[in-house]
Symmetry: C2
Subunit: 233 residues, 2 copies
C-alpha cells in the first residue's frame, strides 16, 4: 500500500466507540486522540441526531465532518454547513399514512429533533409499515434499528453520506477508512477504501469488511487505528 | 460524618470532566463509572444545551437528573420531564432591546436550541448590555462565560437548579455533593452539602468549597468521588 494512503477515518459511535450499554469505551477515547494527534482526522457517523454527534465530537475531540441520522445529515465543521440528504416532510407524510392505517403511533423522544426522517416506538411491524408506504407511493422505507423504527428516504445511509464527505473534503473514498459494527454501517464499510468491523460486529457486517479486528468495541477501534497509521508508514 | 451521608453527586462538565480543550479526561470517565457502580448517582450540570447534557449522560453512563443551560433546565430521567427555570421569551425581548441600542447582534450556533435564555457572540460589552436591560425593566442579566455572552433570568443558576433536583428526588441538599471548577458552579458548590473544587478551579471558586482536590480535571473528580465514597464508609 502507498504511503499516506488513508487521510480520514469514519467511525460509528454506538457499539463501536461504546460498549453495548452505550457508555464510551475508554480505549476508544485514547484511540481517537491518537488518530487526531497523528494527523488522521476522525469523522463520527451515527444514527442519532446531529446535536448528539456534535456533543460526542466535542467530548472526544474529533475534527472531521459529522454524519448524523444514519446519513441523513452531513455536517462540515470547516464551513459550518449542514447538508441534508433526506427529507423530513416525506417522513411526516409517511407517518400520516401509517396513522391512517394503524391509528396513533408515538414517536420517540428525540424524533422531533430529527431533520431528515423520524423515529417511532415499536408499536407496528416494519413489514406492515413498508407495505403501506409502498402502496401510498411514498419515497420512504421503515427500518427497525433495535432502538426504534426509522422512517427515511431509501437512499439515506452512511455510505452515501461518506460519499458526500469525500466530495466536500476532496478526499477520494479510497483514502478513507471506516470502522463500525452494525447493519447500518454496511454501506459505509463497503465503499470506504478500508473497512474495519470490530470483533463484536454482526456476521453480515464482518463479511463486507477488508479487516475484522481481534478485539471488540474501543479496543477494536484502537487496533484499527494502529493498523491504519502503520499502513501510512 | 454519618454513614450514607452523600446520596447524589452533581458534576460540572467543561473544565471538570474535561480538559481545558473540552475533551473528556479519561480519568473522569472511570471515576463516573465507579460512582454509578457504587450506587452514587451522578447528576451532570452544564451551561450547554440539554441535548449536549443528554449525550454526555449516555456516553458517560450517568443516571441522575441533568442540569442544562446553567440551571435554566432540570431534566428528570425518572419521569422524562423537563423543568424550565428560565424564560426564553424574556431573553428574546432582551435581545430586541439590545439590537435597538447597538444594531444587529449575532447569536451563537447553539443559541436557537436554548429554551431558557440565549447566547450572543462577543460583539457587545456585558456592562453596556446590563445597563440597557435594567433601563428597559427586563428581568434579565448579561453574563460573559468566556464562550459567549448569555442573556438569562437573574435567578437562573446551577444552585437553584440543584435545589430543584433536591426537591424532585427528595434528597436533602446536605446529602448532595457537587464538583466544579468555574464561576458558574459557585451557587451549586455553596448550597451542596459537600463542595469540591478541582485543582484547576478559579480562586473565587475554591474559596466557597468545603474541599479542594490536589489534582486537576478528571483526576480531581476521581479524588472527590473516592473521598465521598470513603465518607459513606
Amino acid at each position: 500500500m502507498g504511503e499516506g494512503l488513508i487521510r480520514l477515518v469514519a467511525v460509528d459511535i454506538d457499539g463501536t466507540l461504546t460498549h453495548g450499554d452505550r457508555r464510551l469505551d475508554v480505549a476508544a477515547v485514547d484511540a481517537i486522540r491518537k488518530a487526531e494527534s497523528s494527523n488522521l482526522p476522525v469523522a463520527l457517523a451515527t444514527g442519532n441526531v446531529l446535536p448528539f454527534a456534535e456533543a460526542a465530537a466535542i467530548l472526544l475531540g474529533t475534527s472531521g465532518p459529522l454524519i448524523a441520522e444514519d446519513g441523513g445529515i452531513v455536517f462540515d465543521p470547516a464551513s459550518g454547513q449542514e447538508h441534508m440528504l433526506g427529507d423530513r416532510l416525506e417522513a411526516d407524510r409517511g407517518l400520516a399514512a401509517l396513522e391512517r392505517a394503524f391509528g396513533p403511533i408515538q414517536q420517540t423522544r428525540s424524533s422531533n429533533m430529527r431533520l431528515t426522517g423520524l423515529t417511532l416506538r415499536h408499536a407496528i411491524e416494519v413489514e406492515d409499515a413498508n407495505k403501506i408506504l409502498t402502496r401510498e407511493g411514498l419515497d420512504l422505507v421503515a427500518i427497525d434499528s433495535g432502538f426504534a423504527i426509522h422512517l427515511r428516504s431509501p437512499d439515506v445511509n452512511k455510505g452515501n453520506a461518506l460519499r458526500r464527505v469525500s466530495t466536500l473534503l476532496r478526499v477520494p473514498l479510497a483514502e478513507i477508512a471506516a470502522i463500525g459494527d452494525g447493519p447500518n454501517d454496511i454501506e459505509m464499510l463497503k465503499i470506504a477504501g478500508l473497512g474495519f468491523a470490530v470483533a463484536n460486529s454482526d456476521e453480515i457486517v464482518k463479511r463486507v469488511c477488508t479487516h475484522v479486528t481481534a478485539e471488540p468495541y474501543g479496543k477494536g477501534v484502537a487496533e484499527a487505528i494502529e493498523k491504519i497509521l502503520a499502513l501510512r508508514g
